[in-house]
């Protein structure tokens, strides 16, 4: 694979895509996200490639979660949240008129910072998504096993599928949440700091799991932990905040988006360098 040129937020990304990279499955073009009047993050360009892990890093409040949640219209649920610019999935404008956000979320699954299993049985956690999507009940047993296997938790729970998911440990719960997301047959998985509530061992397992999952899914992950970004991701977007002169509030922005090794070894922007070397944050 050839090296891509370090991106500059002012460039148009599509010009920079190199042919033998993986196909772009989601594209973020010139996107700003607002909460009411407040622009939380601005001018983001970020193509997401198939079967890659794309990481978003940056200091707290720089809009990583905001950006991530725009990718599957999860932000629709927040009063006043608004996306400007274009986000596409398989070439379809996610915010286009004929798009049903419910369907978007089915195809672009999400895993959250704090494991959030439903307070129901392990099995019901998995089958909820398929059930509401109209998958026939007869397929459930196979589907449950497949999802749990994919999330590398089948062996741990196969004898207690009817037990409450709340009885699982934090790391198990997080893998269950991944399994639950997988069960609706998405092809992109968004993960917002999926390990930050977990201990080192559970973290390790999730990281391993992500590596396995990327064969079948495209993954976008937000993390606070730079080492984690360096370990797991193929591509890395560094965000930071800057005071918006017009209203004196901090707006997040994409500083640099590039291959992970490049970001960590030879970043193009000084701010990125300061951050990845731990000068602040």
């Amino acid at each position: 694979m050839t090296e891509v040129r370090a991106l500059n937020v002012d460039d148009t990304l599509s010009d920079d895509i190199v042919v033998d990279d993986n196909r772009v499955v989601m594209d973020v073009e010139d996107v700003s996200v607002y909460y009411g009047d407040f622009r939380a993050v601005r001018d983001v360009h970020m193509p997401v490639r198939e079967h890659e892990i794309t990481a978003m890093i940056g200091p707290s409040g720089c809009g990583k979660s905001t950006m991530l949640r725009s990718l599957n219209r999860m932000n629709d649920l927040i009063e006043g949240a608004r996306v400007e610019g274009r986000i596409t999935y398989q070439g379809i404008d996610l915010y286009g008129p004929k798009v049903d956000p419910v369907e978007v979320r089915r195809r672009i699954g999400m895993v959250f910072q704090k494991p959030n299993p439903f307070p129901k049985s392990i099995e019901e956690n998995i089958t909820f998504g398929p059930r509401i999507a109209g998958v026939p009940k007869s397929e459930f047993p196979e589907l449950v096993e497949r999802s749990l296997r994919s999330a590398a938790i089948w062996d741990e729970v196969k004898d207690r599928l009817k037990d409450s998911a709340l009885g699982l440990s934090g790391g198990q719960q997080q893998r269950l949440c991944i399994a639950r997301a997988i069960a609706t047959t998405p092809d992109v998985l968004l993960m917002d700091e999926p390990c930050s509530a977990l201990d080192p061992i559970a973290t390790g397992r999730i990281e391993d799991l992500m590596q396995q999952l990327k064969d079948d899914y495209t993954i976008v992950i937000v993390t606070h932990n730079m080492q984690q970004a360096a370990r797991v991701s193929d591509r890395c977007a560094f965000f930071t905040t800057e005071i918006d002169a017009t209203n004196d509030r901090r707006t997040g922005q994409l500083v640099e988006y590039d291959r992970t090794d490049k970001i960590f070894s030879n970043p193009a922007d000084e701010r990125t360098e300061n951050y990845v070397t731990g000068r602040f944050g």
């Binding site: 599957n72 009063e79 909820f128």
Partner: protein, 322 residues
């Protein structure tokens, strides 16, 4: 050079420090205040305990000698025959109205406000309106009941001779009275559902209703149940609106059984009205009767209250323990 001009106690010989730290000092003001606050709390509990003891004591002669009679007999003009049957029956049906009308409508409205409504002038209006309705005195709801439910619904929902002052009118009035409280408490319970649970639902592609039905409502159920039970208890203890709606204080002719539907179109009475009537009857022999009726109403009302509060504590403890 520095900005800092230290003000550290330079004279910190170990002895001095020890003396101050080991002063042991309990401040009398501190202790006095604590006891004063405790006293106020105990005072309020004590007064209410006196009330309960006083009432139970007064009621004893009736409850111990003729409880069965007392429960089976209607509003009567003689203290040794008087009972609470018609009152209990009316209160039961009023409860049914509250449960069947204000619970579903109230919970529906709460779901709308918490889950569906966007921040619009309409939502704000409804919101402000509900909070104000909750503060409207119950006697004013009686006026509503009198003009609307008694006056306008006389024909369709009242039998001849009931003058519109029917169980339906009473039930509707108290259902309307409890609606705002049901909405507010249900909305609180729904608001307490962790956002992460909703996100989990939406994240796997559920519609709003699917999330609400499968996740939000089950989680909020104990809270909703608590709130609705409390508002039910409040409605069952209300007398003022029923006075305006014309609950019977003399003799209630209806000898319909407890569960007969026909009485909905007949005149009615209720426990609090019956207590008001007994409390204003002349003669000391009515005191035990009144007290006994109060004990029975308290059992019903405080029973609902206690169940509600226990339920909530149980679920809260469960949630925190998790």
């Amino acid at each position: 050079m520095t900005l800092i001009s230290p003000m550290v106690d330079k004279d910190k010989t170990a002895e001095r420090v020890r003396a101050r730290i080991e002063s042991g000092g309990r401040d009398p003001k501190d202790i006095g205040f604590r006891w004063l606050m405790l006293a106020t709390l105990l005072f309020s509990l004590l007064v209410l305990a006196v009330l309960v003891v006083d009432v139970v004591g007064d009621s004893w002669s009736v409850l111990s000698s003729r409880l069965g009679d007392f429960l089976a007999n209607p509003l009567r003009s003689r203290s040794d025959e008087a009972g609470v049957f018609t009152g209990l029956r009316g209160t039961f049906w009023i409860g049914i109205f509250v449960i069947c009308l204000s619970f579903p409508i109230g919970i529906g409205a709460a779901i709308y406000l918490e889950e569906y409504a966007t921040d619009s002038w309409f939502t704000r209006l409804v919101d402000v309106n509900i909070r104000n309705l909750a503060g409207v005195p119950s006697v004013v709801y009686g006026i509503l009941g009198f003009t609307i439910f008694v006056g306008l619904l006389d024909g369709p929902f009242g039998e001849d001779g009931a003058f519109g002052k029917t169980t339906v009118a009473g039930g509707l009035t108290l259902a309307v009275l409890s609606l705002p409280v049901v909405i507010i408490t249900s909305a609180e319970a729904i608001r307490a559902v962790p956002q992460s649970l909703r996100e989990a639902g939406y994240g796997v592609g559920a519609t709003k209703w699917e999330v609400v039905r499968n996740h939000v409502l089950p989680y909020a159920a104990p809270g909703i149940l608590t709130g609705t039970l409390l508002s039910l208890a409040r409605a069952l203890g209300e007398a003022a609106p029923l006075i305006l709606v014309g609950a019977i204080r003399g003799r209630l002719g209806s000898n319909a059984g407890f569960f007969e539907l026909g009485q909905l179109r007949e005149q009615f009475t209720a426990m609090p009205i019956l207590i008001t009537e007994y409390a204003t009857k002349p003669g000391d022999d009515w005191v035990p009767v009144t007290a006994a009726a109060i004990v029975i109403l308290l059992l019903v009302v405080l029973g609902f209250n206690a169940v509600a509060v226990l339920l909530r504590n149980r679920f809260e403890a469960k949630r925190e323990g998790k």
